[in-house]
């Protein structure tokens, strides 16, 4: 993480969210209150509006602003902030309900003033929004459908919240308060237009074409993409992009995939994708020539961020090999001679994705590969089962100080490896992993 960049963007974001409330606090005369709890509740309401509005900024995938953190952690922040925002909304409501119940009468949607019904609708939609995200898989909502539902719920909840604040109209007589609120709303509208209209429009102007669909071991496929009429972009090995295949850039059917190619090659992009039962099960049938749109590069999971490292340890499970392969290929293309370790968990020897490529890379790099198989073949002398702490210790042995570790695969494996590596004296700041599983 680049500390100065991260601090700058974090402070800017904090200011953006806190400004409406700061204006509220400083802009009004002293002693015009309606009671401590009443004004406190109103303050919480304004704060909640700012937090929920700020959520749109976080998911707009601004590359420059998210790069210092890694965009995956921005989504973690987004999730936590949703909880914070909802708590503020609920507190705002409950304080009124407990101390000023007359302000909430009548509650029936048609009898109450429209702006009060809008406030209740916003609260209900925020609960739905967060519930449908936290329990998407439990509720069986398919990812693509969830994304559409999420966007519609978020925008409508925000519209209702704004109608509510506007309708109630408290404190809006103060010029600055009104101006800041208007500016805030204008920015939100502009942001939604940018994400939903301008960004797809920009993506449409830089299309890619699928030029190769290559089967790999373990039900995986490698897709090769060439820029169509533009020069593409450079990425850091280990990064990923959101890609949509054969659909319009406006229909929001895009998924994050790691680049598996060397970043030193400048003639297109490669993604290795495993058939996982969802839409990826059709990836092998993609016809050559299919148009693709790529939003990237994103992510901070890259050896290039740690040039001072004395060596690297990679732990991959299944298709988690894709970003590792990108890093290994790039290091090989650069003639890097630092010591490297790769521990790779697969189901069986036949299903080790990119097995032959890893063999070739071992010849070009100072690389020790440890395969861990759940179902080993006969006379297998290597590691058996799931990667564990003892295997990592055996593999790393007397690894030099100052190595950095990259973990990519199932969550329990990554957590196990984190504990094991820390127990071996490797500082948490030198252990890196993508926080996938965004919803």
């Amino acid at each position: 993480m680049s500390p100065a960049g991260a601090l700058f963007w974090a402070l800017l974001y904090g200011a953006l969210v806190l400004v409406p409330l700061l204006v509220l606090v400083s802009g009004l005369g002293i002693g015009e209150g309606a009671g401590w709890w009443f004004d406190f509740s109103m303050g919480l309401g304004f704060g909640a509006l700012a937090v929920m509005g700020g959520q749109f900024v976080l998911t707009a995938r601004f590359r420059r602003a998210t790069a210092p953190f890694g965009i995956d952690v921005i989504y973690v922040f987004h999730r936590w902030l949703a909880g914070v925002g909802l708590s503020l909304v609920v507190a705002h409501y409950l304080i009124l309900k407990a101390r000023y119940p007359a302000t909430l009468v009548p509650a029936a949607p048609l009898d109450a003033p429209a702006y009060m019904t809008a406030g209740r609708a916003a609260l209900a939609l925020f609960v739905l929004l967060i519930g449908s995200s936290l329990w998407r898989k439990t509720l069986g909502i398919e990812y693509d459908r969830w994304r559409v539902v999420h966007a519609v719920l978020a925008v409508s909840a925000m519209v209702f919240a704004v109608v509510h604040v506007r309708g109630v109209g408290y404190y809006s007589g103060i010029f600055w308060n009104r101006t800041v609120l208007d500016a805030f709303l204008f920015s939100l509208v502009a942001l939604v237009l940018y994400v939903r209209l301008l960004k797809p429009l920009l993506a449409a102007s830089v299309p890619y074409r699928v030029t190769e669909v290559r089967p790999e071991r373990g039900n995986a496929w490698t897709l090769r993409l060439q820029p169509d009429g533009h020069s593409g972009f450079r990425f850091m090995p280990g990064q990923f992009a959101w890609m949509s295949l054969g659909v319009s850039p406006w229909c929001a059917k895009e998924h994050p995939f790691s680049f598996s190619e060397s970043s030193e090659r400048e003639d297109g992009l490669e993604f290795t994708i495993k058939e996982l039962g969802d839409f990826t099960s059709r990836v092998g049938q993609t016809p050559v020539g299919t148009v693709a749109y790529v939003d990237g590069p994103h992510g901070s999971f890259s050896v290039d961020r740690y040039p001072e490292a004395s060596g690297f340890f990679f732990l991959a499970g299944g298709v988690g090999i894709a970003p590792m392969l990108s890093m290994l290929r790039s290091l090989a293309d650069r003639g890097d001679r630092r010591p490297l370790w790769l521990m790779y968990g697969s189901r069986s020897w036949d299903r080790v994705i990119h097995r032959d490529e890893l063999e070739r890379l071992s010849g070009r790099l100072d690389l020790r590969v440890t395969h861990v198989l759940i179902e080993p073949p006969e006379r297998w002398e290597g590691e058996v089962g799931l990667p564990d702490a003892a295997m990592i210790e055996r593999a790393l042995g007397d690894a030099p100080d100052g190595i950095h570790c990259f973990l990519c695969g199932p969550e329990p494996m990554c957590q196990m490896a984190q504990r094991a590596l820390r127990a071996m004296g490797i500082d948490g700041g030198r252990i890196h992993f993508e926080l996938f599983d965004m919803a």
């Binding site: 993480m1 309606a34 937090v51 973690v76 902030l81 914070v84 003033p113």
Partner: protein, 138 residues
Amino acid sequence: MREPAARLGAVSLGVAIVALAAGFAHRQNAERAVIATPRDPAVLDAPVGAAAPERGRGLFTDLGCARCHSVAGAGNPRSPLDGVGARRTAADIRARIVGAPTVRNEIPASAGRAKQNLAEAMSLSDLDALTAFLSTLR
């Protein structure tokens, strides 16, 4: 490392908002303004109408006036009506209950609309009763 930092960031932002809201509430209520209650004989002697203030008190509750106003601490404290009978004439109170054009620019638009809806639903005798009740708040 990064996940706990994100969590800490989100929670800190929440704490900052709660603190700012508390600061706002404190500042707003630091020196509660004393509502002036001028004992203007002209106001006191103004005709209140024949309606019974007690019926007006009931209407105040039934019509949901407490959603936006409070009396003796009950209801929405943003716009207290304590002492309104001393500050305003009965005719003025009446105009404000129904959101008459003469007072429309003094009240928020949403309140103006709510008051007009109220006016349409109220009989003249109700309006007299409510005016009578509010005039007793001195």
